[in-house]
Amino acid sequence: MNAVLEVKGISKRFRGLVAVDNVSFGVAPGTIFAIIGSNGAGKTTLFNMIAGVLAPSRGSIAFAGERIEGRSPDAVCRRGIGRTFQLVRPFPTLTVEDNVVVGALLHRSDVNMARRRAHEVLWQLDLFGKRHQQASALTLPDRKRLEVARALATDPKLLLLDEVMAGLRPAETDRMVAILTKLNRETGLTILLIEHVMRAVMALAARVLVLHHGAAIAEGAPDAVVREPAVVQSYLGAEAVD
């Protein structure tokens, strides 16, 4: 496998606490890869190391053949990794459209061209009709999609999604799953997601990595992983088996 993202033996230590412990995995181009695990398993820490928010204590992260660990978040984004935030962070007083234009300006210095790109992305994310609203006026499901739209506008090769389904109703989850599936299928975008909502993970991911207390305890196809005893015990709970 020629992975677009190659994580090798990374650890993150916060003083005495080992948040991520020697985790390795690779994400193949054009696939959807999910990281699951209970609260405090180290998912967000791992995510933040890839996005450049935190530098790993040890180990390496390579993206498209280039080492990116310890780089700043903006440098990581310029190399082609877009991200969303678990707690959404829109630019509240800007319009929905202008939020996305900011992302689109990364590879276009002309605002009108960026606006055209923003319109495309807003269509893809079902937000075009709301483009003139202030971002602060949006509902949570819309804000979640705005996060994805803004990241997508930077033309990433890899999209990192931090719990974009959290707080969504099942119908909204399905809508998001449909949008992401379509994006992945039509544009070949590689997606790495951290997710709690198993319904979404099962529907989306080709491969799943399970973290527990900072360590990787299983990796593989989703339906195989959820049957592994270690995963069941640590994460899904015994009642999930049957």
């Binding site: 996005a51 928010v53 700043s72 978040p73 903006d74 984004c77 310029r78 877009g82 991200r83 935030f85 962070r89 829109p90 630019f91 509240p92 007083t93 800007l94 202008d98 234009v101 900011v102 992302g103 300006l105 990364l106 210095s109 605002v111 960026a114 003139h132 803004r150 990241a151 930077t154």
Partner: protein, 334 residues
């Protein structure tokens, strides 16, 4: 270029601007000397407010020490004029350069070492205070006893040396204010404007979209400082005397930011509306008190305080956002 500038601007806004511009151009024929000096003060605050707004209103970096850049611009050109006979327009690039370098140093220190928010504001005050105390002992430019430009009775307007009648100064300030307005509008419409607003709204989110926030915050400080220094040049040649205790004093910095706060932070019309309201009303009130036979020292400061209170309570976004809604200009107005 012209088409790019007006694209997306509502017709009503353009009409309003045109009316305002024509009224301001015609004003010296209609106004007496007193009214003209008030208008010069208004334009001066509209201009400096616009310059400050680039940093705070657009990029979200609060400066409480903008008197520093006014003072540096004023002292730089005044010194060149008095000591070397170099005129204000040739001194202008030097004034801008000095302010830009100083702004860049403050910006670098703050943004490189993560000084933000309140601490950044305190840093800007500190540098203005350094300058005030430093210039008090800087005898080459007069120290604490002041620095004076030669004043004679000029029979004709000498634009090249900025010596002449109030009407000439008025038009110089009007051109500067109009130029600052157009420049800020152009900045807001371009990539840098979008990036500044993104940084103002949420810096971490801005970084996640690939924005080098250090670089764009530096642009904001440097542009704002350079613009403010131009006002300093005007200040020196209009008032002809500079005292560190006055020029660099924190009350000058505060005075300069009240206009945009009352008019609407981050808006293009805010600094202009704010300057008209504050200076216009406070002069009017002083005249009124005078006419009624009262002589109240400090009435202006009390009035500023009341204005600020009223705006904060009734229109926390400032007067312009409210006014633009009333005039039906709201949506496309940045």
């Amino acid at each position: 270029m012209m088409r790019w500038l007006v694209e997306g601007v509502p017709r009503r806004s353009l009409a309003l601007l045109l009316v305002l511009l024509v009224a301001l151009i015609a004003a010296p024929w209609l106004a007496n000397d007193y009214l003209l000096t008030v208008l010069i003060t208004i334009l001066y605050f509209a201009y400096t407010g616009q310059a400050w707004n680039v940093m705070m209103g657009f990029a979200g970096q609060l400066s409480l020490g903008h008197a520093l850049y006014v003072g540096l611009g004023a002292y730089a050109t005044a010194a060149l004029y008095v000591h070397f006979g170099i005129g204000p327009w040739l001194g202008l690039p030097v004034a801008i350069a000095v302010a830009v370098v100083c702004g860049a140093i403050i910006g670098f220190l703050a943004f490189r070492f993560g000084v933000a928010g309140v601490y950044f504001a305190i840093l800007t005050i500190a540098f203005a205070e350094f300058a005030r105390i430093g210039f008090d002992h800087f005898t080459w430019v007069g120290g604490s006893s002041g620095f004076f430009l030669p004043v004679a009775n000029y029979t004709r307007n000498d634009l090249w040396n900025l010596r002449g009648s109030p009407a000439m100064f008025y038009y110089v300030m009007l051109v500067l204010t109009a130029a600052a307005f157009v420049l800020c509008h152009a900045l807001l419409k371009s990539r840098v404007g979008f990036y500044w607003q993104a940084i103002r709204e949420d810096e971490a989110a801005a970084r996640s979209l690939g924005i080098n926030t250090f670089r764009y915050k530096m642009y904001a400080v440097v542009i704002s400082a350079g613009m403010t220094a131009v006002a300093g040049v005007f200040f020196a040649f209009y008032y002809n005397n500079l005292f560190p205790e006055q020029v660099f004093h924190i009350s000058r910095s505060i005075e300069l930011i009240l206009g945009p706060i009352i008019g609407g932070i981050g808006t293009l019309f805010g600094p202009i509306i704010g300057a008209f309201l504050l200076t216009g009303l406070s002069e009017f009130m002083q005249e009124l008190l005078h006419a009624l036979g009262f002589d109240v020292p400090g009435a202006k400061q009390v009035f500023y305080g009341i204005c600020l209170l009223v705006v904060v309570m009734v229109l926390p976004d400032g007067v312009w956002p409210w006014l633009s809604r009333k005039l039906g200009l709201a949506r496309r107005q940045p």
